[in-house]
């Protein structure tokens, strides 16, 4: 692709990427990190515009955003570690609605493994299919389909458990890179 073609392609695709990726990040981190990571994600997309799929470019871009966010969080954790002695180290912040509309569900999702919770978010919040989730996570479509199925099952199991909110809160919510 010559430079003009690259530019044209990026200009055609990027506006359709910005809004969804911005939401993806708003759901997973604080506003300031989301801003930085959005810009970084666009830079990577622009540099790799030749690799960008013609049709399923959005899941591909989510995958880029996911990596950029993981990098940003690693850097943040490194900084946090410096203050570990004086500050009780927080898990990476998770964006939650200000007035939690479904506390029971939020609790149930929080008890899932990070990988399972993330796959459910991609399915429900980003409204992706199993094959699109596969593109985001860079795994096979079969693996994505299986993991999505299991994650749904686990969430249902958690929701069925009596006595939710029993204080059993592990740090499973933080996303691992």
């Amino acid at each position: 692709m010559n430079p003009d073609d690259r530019r044209r392609r990026f200009e055609a695709v990027a506006p359709a990427v910005i809004e969804p990726v911005r939401r993806y990040l708003a759901r997973r981190t604080d506003p300031s990190t989301a801003d930085d990571v959005l810009q970084e994600t666009l830079l990577v997309c622009w540099r790799r515009v030749d690799d960008m799929p013609a049709v399923e470019f959005l899941p591909w871009a989510y995958g880029v955003a996911r990596n950029c966010l993981a990098n940003a969080e690693r850097a943040q954790r490194r900084r946090h570690r410096l203050f570990a002695r004086i500050v009780h180290l927080d898990p990476p912040p998770v964006a939650v609605p200000e007035n939690d509309p479904d506390h029971e569900l939020t609790e149930a999702v929080a008890r899932l493994r990070a990988e399972d919770a993330e796959i459910l978010r991609l399915w429900a919040w980003e409204e992706l299919s199993a094959s699109e989730i596969a593109t985001v996570l860079r795994i096979s479509a079969n693996a994505a389909s299986l993991r999505l199925h299991r994650a749904k099952q686990k969430l249902r199991d958690e929701l069925r458990k009596p006595g939710t909110g029993n204080g059993h809160e592990e740090l499973t919510e933080g996303r691992r890179p």
Partner: protein, 202 residues
């Protein structure tokens, strides 16, 4: 409604971005512009600016049996084969490779810095991959009456304008050590801004 649908809509109700206002169009434009300009100044692009092929004059020395033309009144030894219908000095250049090149915006300063030969000329003949140009003006370098360009694959796609040499058309061409400078430094004489660039540089 299936269990899946129920679960999905229940999850959706907890979407923290549900109340997020759409991004303003101005912000989108700003993000795009920032992205593309930031990426464009990466230094790695600069090194590809000059596409150097074989140094033409050395080639002539290497190929034995070619006669050197020494026109009267000129102390220069620039010479070439007789494919060019001109009795004067012929300079040989190599065209850009067919591969794509990544460019930063051309500037007169860079042109002045890079080019050791620059001229305006009209294409007089095309023989396969060999292009002959009649020189109408030399901006920089030794005077020459004709220039031969050996181009790869019959085209020089990275030049400005149509990207091709065509018989009868006028071109502005700059070169460094025998290799044509592309990336907005050579092309059709009427390509946008090219003449102005040459006027400013030389």
């Amino acid at each position: 409604m299936t269990d899946d649908d129920d679960l999905r809509s229940r999850l959706r109700r907890t979407d923290p971005a549900a109340g997020l206002a759409p991004v303003a169009p101005a912000r989108t434009a700003q993000l795009l512009e920032k992205t593309m300009t930031t990426a464009a100044v990466k230094p790695r692009l600069d090194t590809r600016l000059i596409l150097v092929a074989a140094a033409a004059l050395l080639l002539i020395v290497a190929v034995g049996g070619w006669q050197l033309l020494r026109p009267p009144g000129s102390g220069h030894n620039a010479a070439g084969p007789v494919a060019v219908p001109s009795a004067g000095v012929t300079k040989k250049l190599t065209g850009p490779p067919a591969a794509q090149a990544k460019c930063i915006a051309p500037t007169a300063t860079k042109l002045r810095e890079y080019a050791d030969f620059a001229f305006a000329g009209t294409v007089t003949s095309l023989y396969g991959d060999a292009v002959a140009l009649k020189v109408t003006r030399v901006y920089r370098g030794a005077p020459a009456d004709a220039v031969e360009v050996a181009q790869e694959g019959g085209s020089s796609e990275t030049m400005m304008g149509s990207g091709k040499f065509e018989i009868g058309r006028d071109y502005l061409v700059a070169s460094s050590e025998g290799g044509i400078l592309v990336c907005g430094y050579s092309g059709e004489a009427d390509a946008t801004g090219l003449q102005e660039l040459y006027d400013e540089a030389f």
